[in-house]
């Protein structure tokens, strides 16, 4: 087991490197030009007095300062050959953006944001601090609710169908509709103003730990609820499909014949086996926790990871973007290993390839 884990973890490194390199090269090669243009776009529309030459100079200098003036990779496309056999590439040496980035990465540095010139690690850390309570809370609520709902999936057909239809309806609503609906129902002075409309309030640093937790929870209640409502259907539908399969199995018939109550049969016997395919959802869940939710964070004005990455993408702020992708990719790969290990633990019949 230990060797297997080590093996898998070691193998993650090249995979992560490959993923990041591809994203780095793709993202930078597509919008090399656009980046500086975007940064100075505001200036050029207001800078009544700047001449074309001045703006060109400013753009060149900005690109040089951000490290975008160098070639992108060790080699780049050679000019088109006129005849005969010619090399497709030309060598650029080690003064290139990729080399610089890789060296930085090997020192565990992610560089500085193009927009606010902050270290990317600090930015991501801060965003994670806001996102994790939200997403982890929502995940806990979702799993708890699914666990509670599982026995009802053994209901007679018609009631079960009604429950599933309700879930499908929930699934047909996009997240922003659910989030706005909750806001308009539960934070509206015209309806029920039980919850705050936005943000996280101003914590009182002098308050006790419990009071602070309560305060945070009060502000996070609606966002957590919105995320829970949206992620519940997929989980329960998946669970339901697996349960259908398991309930036909012999051991369930035996358990029922023993006279066990239906809820117990569900939870103790069928559910355990039905969880296996649902384990793959873990590989989705963990990266999702880190990636945050753009929509919920936008609607409820939370400064989390999703919003940070979306803004970075819109502003072509690649250091932040790559940092975020690195984080998500790492968590995803770790989650995959974790899921494999859990498979092994729940069903030892599955052989793991070393």
């Amino acid at each position: 087991m230990g060797r297997f884990l080590l093996h898998r973890l070691l193998r993650l490194l090249p995979a992560t490197w490959a993923i990041l390199s591809i994203i780095f090269l793709l993202s930078r090669s597509f919008s090399q030009q656009q980046l500086a243009t975007g940064r100075l776009a505001d200036v050029s529309s207001t800078a009544h007095s700047a001449s074309g030459a001045q703006r060109e100079l400013a753009e060149r200098q900005l690109r040089a300062r951000l490290g975008l003036a160098e070639p992108l990779f060790y080699f780049s496309a050679a000019p088109r050959a006129t005849a005969g056999l010619a090399a497709r590439w030309q060598w650029n040496g080690t003064t290139n953006q990729y080399h610089r980035w890789l060296r930085q990465l090997s020192r565990a540095e992610l560089g500085f944001s193009f927009r606010d010139e902050q270290p990317v690690t600090a930015l991501l850390q801060r965003s994670l601090g806001y996102t994790l309570p939200l997403t982890a809370g929502a995940a806990a609520c979702t799993i708890g609710l699914a666990w509670l709902a599982a026995p009802y999936l053994g209901w007679p057909r018609r009631r079960r169908s009604a429950l599933l239809s309700a879930l499908y309806l929930l699934d047909a609503l996009p997240l922003f509709v659910v989030a706005l609906l909750l806001l308009l129902l539960l934070a509206n002075p015209d309806m029920l103003a039980w919850f705050p409309a936005y943000g996280l309030g101003r914590e009182d640093p002098a308050a006790s730990g419990l009071a602070q937790l309560q305060f945070r929870l009060y502000y996070l209640a609606l966002p957590i609820l919105a995320l829970t409502l949206v992620s519940l259907p997929a989980l329960i539908v998946q669970l339901d499909a697996a349960l259908r399969q398991e309930l036909r199995a012999d051991y369930v018939v035996t358990a029922r014949a023993k006279g066990l109550p239906e809820a117990l049969v569900m939870r103790r016997h069928a559910l355990r086996n039905a969880l296996l395919p649902a384990l793959t959802l873990l590989t989705e869940l963990l990266p999702g926790l880190v990636a945050g939710s753009v929509v919920v964070e936008l609607v409820y004005s939370l400064p989390g990871m999703g919003r940070r990455l979306a803004e970075a993408a819109a502003a072509h702020d690649y250091p932040v973007l790559l940092g975020g992708v690195l984080l998500i990719a790492l968590v995803r790969l770790v989650a995959q290993v974790l899921a494999d290990v859990l498979y092994f633990l729940t069903d030892p019949r599955i052989r793991l390839s070393q």
Binding site: Q34, G38, R39, H48, A50, S51, R115, G144, S301, E311
Partner: protein, 579 residues
Amino acid sequence: MKRLFLSIGCLFTLAACSTPASTADETVRIRWSRDPENLDPLVLPNPNAYEAINLLHCSLLTVDYTQKKFVPWLAQAMPRVQQQDSLLLVTYQLRPEATWDNGQPVLAQDVAFTLKVMNCPGLPNEAARAQYGFIEAIRLDSLDQRRFTLVLRGRAQELVQSSGDYPILPEYKLDPQGQLRPVALAALRADTARTNPRRSPAVLAFAERYEAAHLNQHPENLPGCGPYTLKEWQPSRYLLLQRKKTWWADRVKNPAPQLVANPTAISYEIIPDDATALLALRRGDIGVYPMVPARDFIQLRQDKAAHNLRFYTADSYDMITAGFNTRRSVLRDAATRQALSYLFDIPGLIQASQQGMAYPSVSLVNPQATAIYNDSLPLLKPDSRQAASLLSNAGWRRDKQGWGRQVGNGPAQRLELTFSYRTGDAAYEAIVLQFRTAAAQLGIPVRPQPLEASLFTKQLRAGETDMFLQLLSGNPFAYNFAPILHSQSLGWGNFTGFGTAASDQLIEAIATEADASRQARMLRKFQRLLRQESPMVVLFFLQYRLAAASNLTNLHATGIRPGYEAAAIRTRPVSPLQP
């Protein structure tokens, strides 16, 4: 399990009941839709950062929102201007009352220092350098430490206003030993223009110190002479500014409006979503909601439950324009462009996309500026018959597939257009779809092309579009159309590709003319020229909409960004509950 669920439920309920008591202070809470991101006074990436910097720092001149003109701020009076060949000499006198937080006076030396910082290599000052590169030199007065003359290259009148429109930075804080003093501004300017600037040890040391101050996130390391200081900044959450206990302008007798700062604290609340901001306003979490979407604004104004709010509108100088790329062969002649401009249903679009809260104009001039607005030109009305006859005049013939023509011996042309716009704005989409429908009725195929913002800019600059939508921001202070219509701005701001020798000359003459009535005559002529040539169609000017709590007064709601004046706001004590 049930118990766990119950306890979670209880916790939520508890949390819901423990609503924190709102503190009854005089903080003015204003909604921002995005973070200022970077508060380095040299960078200022967005209007919010600009607004905050204007509360933390003072510049020589500022805008009086009620009179809509530039007024002296750190300067004692508007500067004296002299013309010398192709240069303008602008002489300023600083206010004697103006001091830094440590009591030292603000002197001409500080202005010189600011200009050097804006041109110092190694600093993030590319934008500032491009914008204020027209300031060639500063001449200090040897007799009066508060007197100096700026040498400006160019003769446009707006340069005078721009020459005083940047925050003045304290030399004592960034360069206490005065290491930059012996370095000449001209040397710094020459250096930054090179690709590999030579740098003296003093300049290098200064650049290092500047970077070490981390002004982008810690503007409190550079206390300006503005009325407010930064108290707290949680990026993407809020920015809290605190009024200085004593600000130098408090000592001025009978202070002008720009020398008064009322709120004891201003808190900018960052709420990206409009619907959420509306709820926050209704609940009293925020006091000022600028740039309310038209639909929400109208609904709110009619809502009886919103009686504790006041509503303001102001005619802005922002206009939505449709441009034609005159370099395209099908759009090269004015008649075709004129014909196409008759397909826009401008009154309908104002009603549909702005709920009637916008106003049409014949050209790039705001109709409120009656002295220069050419009211003898008719407003554009949708008229497909006129469009068809103009098209025939331009040589187009209608056939089964649409319109085609033959110009000289060139290839046969088909009248088929793409219409590009920045994605994400519903108003743009409405305009393009309306145009497409009207064009389809006439048999002209139009393909809408929504583009991501930077890609859109790139295509505009490369001249790869046929027609495009663009938001142009004007101002009431100066008329300079060179950035958008002069042939020298091709590839920069002039995306229509328009520009003849005559139009270039007229644009230059308008920009440099000092006499108001002569300038008005030329502006009227320019509007007529634009209508004839029709390189772009002004669809409408926008209105700024502002909703604020009724206990806030003196907001100075205006059509100049940001649409209000935060420092002027007064808080009326909340009247006791009426029986």
